[in-house]
């Protein structure tokens, strides 16, 4: 395998199955130590599907800096459930969560609305709404937590989310080049040259390299490629 080092790189496991799960978890720890910015986890293979949010959460607990992008099937999830999952992952990981939609081409309009509602929910708490005023018995400021009152073609969601705003606020949606119709929705659009589809065999080579990454937040670390 020839690795082209063109900048911060997203690693997409090409042979992630339930049988290779333990090795990929070990790999996540090594990639994190080597300074790689983003690992995409989960898959929608109907014969052996793996839930992206669960995998990202498991990896988050064992790593410090690497971004963890959960693969999401947009056709089997409700926006409130997905927003709760993403907010939880972003809090647990200290702001290292991202998501990527796989499938859904058959119902692109539903996917667009799903993304819109998830983003409204993730930002339904203002950044400083968790006030913790013990003397007054108030955890949050009622005037800084907002219902979203979304009424669309596919979803009707009152909100707000029942989890305070996650560290990144709008948890970034990542799309890879050519993933129409979701490119237009993405917060981070990554091209072929920065996306490595990697098998377990290739990992030995990768973990020795240090990719050139700068920036504090996940968006900053990956944002130069938009």
């Amino acid at each position: 395998m020839t690795v082209r080092m063109v900048g911060p790189t997203v690693i997409v496991p090409s042979d992630l199955t339930s049988a290779t799960l333990p090795q990929w978890i070990e790999a996540a720890v090594r990639l994190d130590e080597a300074g790689w910015p983003l690992l995409v986890v989960g898959n929608c293979d109907p014969k052996d599907p793996l839930d992206g949010l669960a995998m990202a959460a498991y990896c988050a607990a064992q790593t410090r800096n690497i971004g963890l992008c959960a693969v999401v099937d947009p056709l089997t999830v409700e926006p409130f459930t997905l927003a709760r999952g993403l907010a939880t992952l972003d809090h647990m990981s200290g702001g290292r969560a991202a998501w990527r939609l796989i499938g859904g081409e058959s119902d692109a309009n539903r996917c667009r609305e799903l993304v819109e509602v998830v983003r409204k929910l993730l930002t339904s708490w203002e950044p400083d709404a968790l006030i913790e005023e013990a003397d007054k018995g108030l955890l949050s400021d009622r005037d800084r937590v907002h219902p979203i009152a979304h009424e669309g073609d596919y979803f009707a969601v009152e909100g707000p989310l029942n989890i305070p705003r996650p560290p990144q606020g709008r948890v970034p949606l990542v799309a890879l080049a050519g993933e129409s119709p979701f490119n237009e929705l993405a917060d981070l659009l990554l091209n072929d040259g920065t996306t490595l589809n990697v098998s377990l065999e290739d990992l030995a080579e990768l973990s020795d390299m240090t990719p050139p990454v700068t920036g504090e937040t996940l968006v900053e670390r990956l944002g130069g490629l938009q």
Binding site: R84, H91, E132, N162
Partner: protein, 406 residues
């Protein structure tokens, strides 16, 4: 020395089951959003060789007149994100997460549970619930909340679909995740007899609990299941102290955590009525309550507000009573007395274990692990060490042989 293996669960909710527990100064509320907070509790529970940690799921935020109640805004994270994260930092303890059959897709839930059970080597349980809150419906594109019968019918089909899908996927470490259920209504009991391997129940009296367990075990036999394949675990909210006086003092201290604003918000949420304008020393405004937007039966029946003596209490007295009386069984006493009680209930056949619901987890969990568990171990009532690696193993449940049983 007996050898009973009383099952022990720890129900982790916020900083504790006292709604005001976050106000306890040692533990800032925002800790509830960090992995560190849950990791510390999980490791303590694992040190005590507890069988599992249990997480609830809440799908709405408390609201009154369009404002989202700051007093009741403690966050409950997604259990199926929290559990895989905690699985990575623990060795043996099991985890049960609540996930609604009313508002999630069966295929997505099956994949989630299968992935988590692989990640943690078979330490996963699924608390199967139907969601009965109309405020949740408003977050899931549903205008009318489905009735109870309809929800349970749907839940039965849902569980069948999840289990069928598991059959078609690569094998999981414990066969499949443990099925947990918590409903005690007649419909809930029928569902449990067919589906549940663990029942999380409310039981305040030993004799009633013995009768309930007998009834459920019989119901399992009636549908062709082995009654030994059910663990009934009532919730219990213990407040411990080195002496009885200390325990009582702790109880008083915990009651102080419940701010009047919080209690008014809870009462307001219950009836859809803003109570903040009423005087605490005047009788409950029964006429206004009877005309409140959410007056219904059950929890929202205004008749429940009136004392056994027929007197209408003052708003302040009612709130004090509410703060003390919990839906679940409570206990105030010494570690020795709690061990006696758990022993007594188990001996009598009232249950197979307990789900511990500490009012303030930062105090209750270490006290239980360090002071009660050693007594239980010494008496041979709980396991000395994890003898198994899976949740099924911890609970003594066998792996499903026949796939879908219903």
């Amino acid at each position: 020395m007996t050898d009973r293996n009383i099952a022990l669960g720890l129900f982790v909710l916020g900083h504790g089951h006292n709604v005001g527990s976050w106000r306890s100064s040692q533990t800032p509320a925002r800790d509830l959003l960090t992995l560190d907070y849950y990791r510390e509790i999980a490791r303590q529970a694992e040190r005590g060789r507890l069988d599992m940690i249990f997480f609830a799921e809440i799908l709405y935020s408390y609201e009154l007149n369009g404002r989202h109640e700051g007093a009741l805004a403690f966050p409950t994270l997604d259990p199926f994100v929290l559990i895989p994260a905690l699985s990575a930092v623990t060795e043996a303890i099991g985890f049960t997460g609540t996930y609604s059959t009313t508002y999630t897709d069966a295929q997505a839930t099956a994949i989630k549970l299968a992935t988590i059970d692989r990640l943690n080597g078979g330490r996963t349980g699924w608390n199967i619930v139907t969601t009965g809150a109309d405020r949740a419906a408003a977050n899931f594109s549903v205008r009318e909340h489905p009735g109870k019968e309809e929800r349970y019918l749907r839940a039965g089909d849902y569980v069948d679909r999840v289990r069928s899908l598991w059959q078609s996927l690569p094998a999981m470490p414990q066969g499949e995740p443990v099925r947990v259920q918590a409903g005690m209504s007649p419909t809930g009991k029928t569902f449990a007899a067919q589906v549940a391997e663990v029942m999380f129940t409310i039981a305040k009296e030993k004799e009633a609990a013995v009768a309930f367990r007998k009834e459920l075990r019989q119901a399992l036999s009636d549908v062709g299941r082995d009654p030994e394949e059910l663990r009934i675990m009532p919730g219990i909210a213990p407040i411990l102290g080195g002496t009885e006086q200390e325990a009582k003092a702790n109880e008083e201290r915990y009651l102080e955590l419940l701010h009047p604003e919080t209690q008014l918000a809870m009462l307001g949420d219950q009836f859809g009525l803003d109570f903040s304008g009423y005087a605490l020393d005047a009788p409950l405004p029964m006429d206004d309550i009877r005309q409140a937007p959410k007056v219904l039966s059950g929890m929202r029946d205004p008749a429940r507000l009136i004392g056994e003596d027929g007197e209408v209490p003052t708003l302040g007295d009612y709130l004090r009573r509410q703060a003390k009386v919990r839906a679940h069984n409570s206990f105030v006493g010494t570690p020795e007395q709690l061990a006696d009680m758990l022993d007594d209930w188990s001996e009598a056949g009232a249950c197979d274990g307990f789900n511990m619901m500490f009012p303030l987890q930062s105090e209750g969990v270490p006290a239980f692990v360090d002071e009660v568990v050693p007594i239980l171990r010494k008496r041979g009532l709980v396991k000395q060490d994890y003898g198994a690696t899976t949740l099924r193993g911890h609970l003594g449940l066998s792996e499903p042989k026949d796939g879908v049983t219903r």
